[in-house]
């Protein structure tokens, strides 16, 4: 990590650079609060669709609530995945990032972390509200929040791969969904299984542990794939 400093004496260290990148992304996001609110609004609206479609009987809703909450969280993540690199690709700052001597792995992590903070983490913290609306057993709510916090990290990282692969394409939106939804499926299985286990009072630790393992694997490998995909997209 000393190489960039040797070539450019003024260059910040890797960690300082990532912190600045993260701060920049968060400032950009906070300047457009509507973009942060949109996924939450989407989440709320789709949650409202289920009682209309399935009928408002509390028993029915409670049965399906773990699955509904997880699927809707997944779709909300999917909607935001496409925009991760779009703005920076259009104005050329992505190219500068690729040319910079900073390791791409950590820079990419900063991007994904910023996106996760304003979508996945926010959604997870607000999910108890929607859980109550769908009549989920109150005892399962802490598990729901934990599973969403862990799982949405994986979703953001995998979504980053899809975003990086399609950032150079004009019609990316639909394609991102087709590319990354198959990879979301294991997360969905264990996320909703954890909540279902908590509903019936069974221990959910094993499911959460597997989600955590997936997060570790994604943290280790996804930035490499995102970096490679960004280079391909910028070169094309």
């Amino acid at each position: 990590m000393s190489a960039p400093v040797a070539i450019f004496p003024e260059a910040p260290g890797t960690l300082a650079f990532c912190a600045r990148l993260l701060r920049r992304q968060l400032v950009l996001a906070l300047r457009r609060p509507v973009d942060i609110g949109n996924p939450l609004l989407f989440f709320a609206m789709v949650v409202a669709l289920f009682p209309l479609g399935l009928g408002p009987a509390p028993g029915t809703l409670a049965t399906f609530a773990p699955g509904i909450l997880w699927i809707v969280a997944l779709l909300a993540n999917l909607l935001t995945a496409d925009n991760l690199f779009r703005g920076d690709f259009d104005d050329g700052s992505l190219e500068q990032l690729l040319l910079s001597p900073q390791p791409l792995y950590t820079s990419v992590l900063a991007y994904v972390l910023s996106q996760w903070l304003v979508t996945g983490a926010l959604l997870a913290l607000l999910s108890p509200l929607f859980a109550l609306m769908l009549n989920l057993a109150p005892g399962a709510i802490p598990t729901l929040v934990c599973s969403l916090l862990l799982g949405s990290g994986v979703l953001s990282l995998v979504g980053g791969i899809g975003a990086a692969l399609t950032v150079g394409l004009r019609r990316g939106g639909m394609l991102v969904a087709l590319l990354i939804l198959p990879f979301y499926m294991p997360v969905l299985i264990f996320g909703s299984a954890a909540v279902q286990a908590a509903v019936i009072g069974a221990p959910a630790g094993a499911h959460l542990a597997i989600l955590g393992a997936m997060l570790c694997l994604a943290l280790a490998l996804a930035p490499l794939a995102i970096g490679a995909a960004l280079r391909i997209s910028v070169d094309a």
Binding site: F183, P186, I189, I232
Partner: protein
């Protein structure tokens, strides 16, 4: 050894060698397919529980096995193209995707047809069926990504990254749906420990699996030849070949 490796990068050489392999592999494959299919469908004893309906195994299992292997061939070709920047590996990867998708589709359809008499339903959300469906989505995703790029060199690289991500994920997807729910019978053929399938049924099945691998290779080579011609359409050797 290395000169062989470098020759692989040459389109005319690869086109020629694929042609001469196909000249004997294609008739041999058709022969093996006909032999294996008639052995399996006509001359093996019926199953004591499933009667004659089990015979679809001679299409279903080979298609499923080769579909899964095909994904790894595609990812391997993608890795070769990313590491050694070999254009012909791109061609191989691109040629794999439709063949693999078709085989996955065949495995799903024959599975549904087999499921109706044995399980009483066309479709169940069972672990293996679900993971084959996801495999089909992965193949179709690679094809969709390739078609979305105008720059075909970048398309191939992007598909290579996607298929490599897929190789990490396929075992995870497989294990997760396996833990999720399972109805499908466990694998009958095991290389370690005893198989639970009678030799009189096993040998034709083995022959069919081998001929499906050969069929996959034939389709791959045919697809590659077409793709090479399409890419090299403006070069002299292709013009000479088609006599234009």
């Amino acid at each position: 050894m290395w000169s062989f490796f470098h020759k692989l990068g040459s389109p005319p050489w690869l086109y020629g060698i694929a042609g001469s392999i196909l000249r004997w592999l294609l008739p041999l494959t058709l022969l093996a397919l006909i032999a294996g299919a008639s052995w399996g469908l006509l001359f093996t004893p019926p199953d004591f529980r499933q009667g004659n309906s089990y015979r679809i195994i001679y299409i279903h299992v080979p298609a499923a096995v080769v579909a899964l292997a095909g994904y790894y061939v595609m990812a391997l070709a993608g890795a070769v193209s990313l590491i050694w920047k070999m254009k012909m590996a791109d061609v191989a990867m691109k040629a794999c995707a439709p063949v693999g998708a078709a085989l996955t589709f065949i495995a799903l359809v024959t599975g549904a047809i087999w499921g109706k008499p044995t399980w009483g339903t066309w479709w169940v959300w069972d672990a293996r069926i679900t993971s084959m469906l996801i495999l089909l989505f992965l193949y179709l995703g690679v094809i969709a990504l390739y078609e979305a790029y105008d720059n075909k060199a970048a398309a191939a690289k992007a598909c290579a990254v996607l298929s490599l991500v897929g190789t990490v994920n396929i075992p995870i997807i497989y294990k997760s749906v396996d833990w999720w729910y399972s109805l499908h019978q466990p694998a009958s053929i095991k290389f370690t420990g005893g198989s639970t399938i009678d030799p009189s049924m096993l040998y034709p099945l083995m022959l069919m699996i081998a001929s499906f691998y050969a069929l996959f290779t034939c389709c791959l080579l045919l697809n590659m030849r077409v793709e090479i011609l399409r890419r090299e359409a403006r070069t002299n050797w292709v013009r000479k070949l088609v006599g234009a």
